[in-house]
């Protein structure tokens, strides 16, 4: 626990100088404005919760994707990767804490989307605050686990930036980040359900429902399962990649 808190405090200090964070906050803002305008044209104010949750999830995903590529690169550039791996503390726990701390910033995207909704005269009401809190926590934990898988993929690639850029929108489309999965073609839907964004969208949107919050249990179980699978796979892949790099002496080489 002391290790987790120590890493999180350290990462929070480093974050103040991160240049990509303001960039990531642009996404939810722009998508929220676009969605509000489109909802206005379509005269569908009933879709207000989509225009809040969707932009937030776009920010969550973009940050998860970006931080996955930057985390190890930053350590390499600062020549701290070797001491990090050599330290007796678990490298996987340190990396998870670092990625998780940065992912907290994406909560600002939710505030941006809520503010945009209010600015467009379509404020949203949280009818189930506990569901919102629970959904927010599960979403960020799932994003952190997904980041860990991406860290492993990017560390094995020579040009993480190219792949980061390439998967950004395809995952947002397949994951049903801004639209319900039912809008996507039927053959895509099983694939969408393997991406945490689709369940996060269902779960967090339920908190804005004026009636009973439906589907909370199913979405929660799915998010927990995806988090465990992603975290396990990501942890194993990162462990393998770092072990190989230690064996062939390429740890500090990009």
């Amino acid at each position: 626990m002391a290790l987790l808190l120590g890493v999180m405090r350290h990462e929070a200090g480093l974050m103040r100088r991160e240049e990509f964070l303001p960039l990531v906050l642009l996404y939810p803002l722009a998508i929220a404005i676009v969605m509000q305008m489109v909802i206005g044209v379509g005269q569908r104010p009933d879709l207000g919760s989509f225009a809040v949750v969707g932009p937030w999830l776009v920010g969550v995903w973009q940050l998860a994707n970006l931080v996955a590529g930057e985390t190890l690169n930053k350590e390499r550039h600062a020549a701290t990767l070797e001491p990090l791996v050599a330290a007796p503390a678990s490298t996987i726990i340190v990396l998870t804490a670092k990625v998780g701390t940065v992912s907290l910033v994406s909560l600002l995207g939710l505030l941006e989307a809520v503010a945009v909704a209010a600015a467009f005269g379509r404020p949203v009401t949280v009818h189930h605050p506990l569901v919102l809190l629970w959904g927010g926590v599960l979403t960020l934990v799932a994003a952190t686990a997904t980041s860990l898988v991406l860290v492993a993929l990017y560390v094995a690639s020579r040009s993480a930036r190219t792949y980061q850029n390439s998967i950004s929108y395809p995952v947002l489309v397949l994951g049903g980040a801004i639209v319900p999965v039912s809008v996507l073609p039927e053959w895509v839907q099983p694939l969408s359900r393997l991406i945490f964004l689709s369940w996060a969208n269902d779960l967090v949107r339920a908190s804005f429902s004026p009636g009973p919050a439906g589907g909370v249990v199913l979405a929660s179980l799915a998010l927990i399962a995806l988090t465990l699978a992603g975290g396990g796979l990501g942890g194993w892949l990162v462990h393998r990649a770092l072990r190989r790099a230690r064996v062939d002496g390429s740890l500090a080489l990009a």
Binding site: L23, M37, I39, V41, G42, S159, Y169, V179
Partner: protein, 261 residues
């Protein structure tokens, strides 16, 4: 004549820069997949509100936006010359520094137009948006015109970002998002909030996109004024970039900071 030669070389350097990031395979498999998914992403909003007319509007707007994205992001390419320490050489050379710097945008314009043209058949088929064969030359011409106009904005942006290169990604993305929100890409200008629509009037692409939509929708809109407005908008941004480049060079020489901030 020499300026043309400098422009040609600068365009080639821009092309080489791109090939250091992408191989032909990663450009097609990675970049094209990403941009096609981007258009699908925004066009799905039409499916969300269950309005085919809105979907069509989103498809056309976001397809044209694909040509603007690499063009405006070309501002980042300009900043690389300072970051890599090449700027003092460009300034010391007897050729026009502005041509060398702004010329880097040529490859960005080409990349933008090629991106949109390659994505168009896939997107238009996917969303069942027909295009009359006879309209294709005019549509391509307007796409090129809009991209060239956007290069004017990228030139000023590049000149400003040369002063603070660490903000290059934020600045260029801000410009791309501003165009996405203000230029009638996702909703018509008349449905855009007044403040945003006003910004759209001075941004490139707004009038070119109206012209493209009028051809696609076969509406009787006079294209001439729209083309002139688009040209004037891009030209104004480019002219505004010239004193910025001059200031940067003068300031950099005076303070010895051409190769560092």
């Amino acid at each position: 004549m020499n300026t043309l030669r400098v422009l040609r070389v600068a365009a080639h350097v821009g092309y080489v820069d791109k090939t250091s990031i992408y191989t032909p395979w990663t450009w097609i498999a990675g970049w094209m997949t990403r941009v096609i998914a981007q258009v699908v992403f925004f066009s799905l909003l039409g499916a969300l509100i269950e309005d085919p007319a809105v979907t069509r509007f989103l498809v056309i707007g976001n397809l044209v936006m694909l040509a603007m994205m690499p063009t405006v992001m070309g501002a980042v390419v300009i900043t690389w010359d300072r970051m890599k320490g090449v700027l003092p050489h460009i300034v010391a050379a007897p050729a026009s520094s502005t041509a060398a710097l702004a010329g880097r945008l040529t490859s960005s314009v080409v990349e933008g137009v090629v991106t949109a043209l390659l994505a168009a058949p896939v997107i238009l088929l996917l969303f069942d948006v027909p295009v009359r064969f006879v309209d294709v030359p005019a549509l391509v011409g307007l796409l090129v015109l809009s991209a060239v106009s956007a290069a004017g904005l990228a030139s000023l942006l590049g000149a400003v970002l040369l002063l603070r290169t660490r903000w290059r990604n934020l600045g260029s993305n801000l410009a791309v998002f501003a165009m996405m929100v203000c230029c009638g890409v996702n909703v018509p200008p008349e449905a855009t909030p007044d403040a945003l629509a006003t910004v759209g009037q001075i941004l490139p692409m707004t009038h070119g996109l109206i012209a493209i939509r009028s051809i696609m929708d076969s509406t009787a809109t006079a294209l001439g004024p729209l083309i002139v407005r688009e040209l004037l908008t891009g030209g104004a941004w480019f002219v505004a970039s010239l004193p910025m480049f001059a200031y940067l060079i003068h300031h950099g020489r005076a303070t010895g900071t051409l190769d560092k901030e």
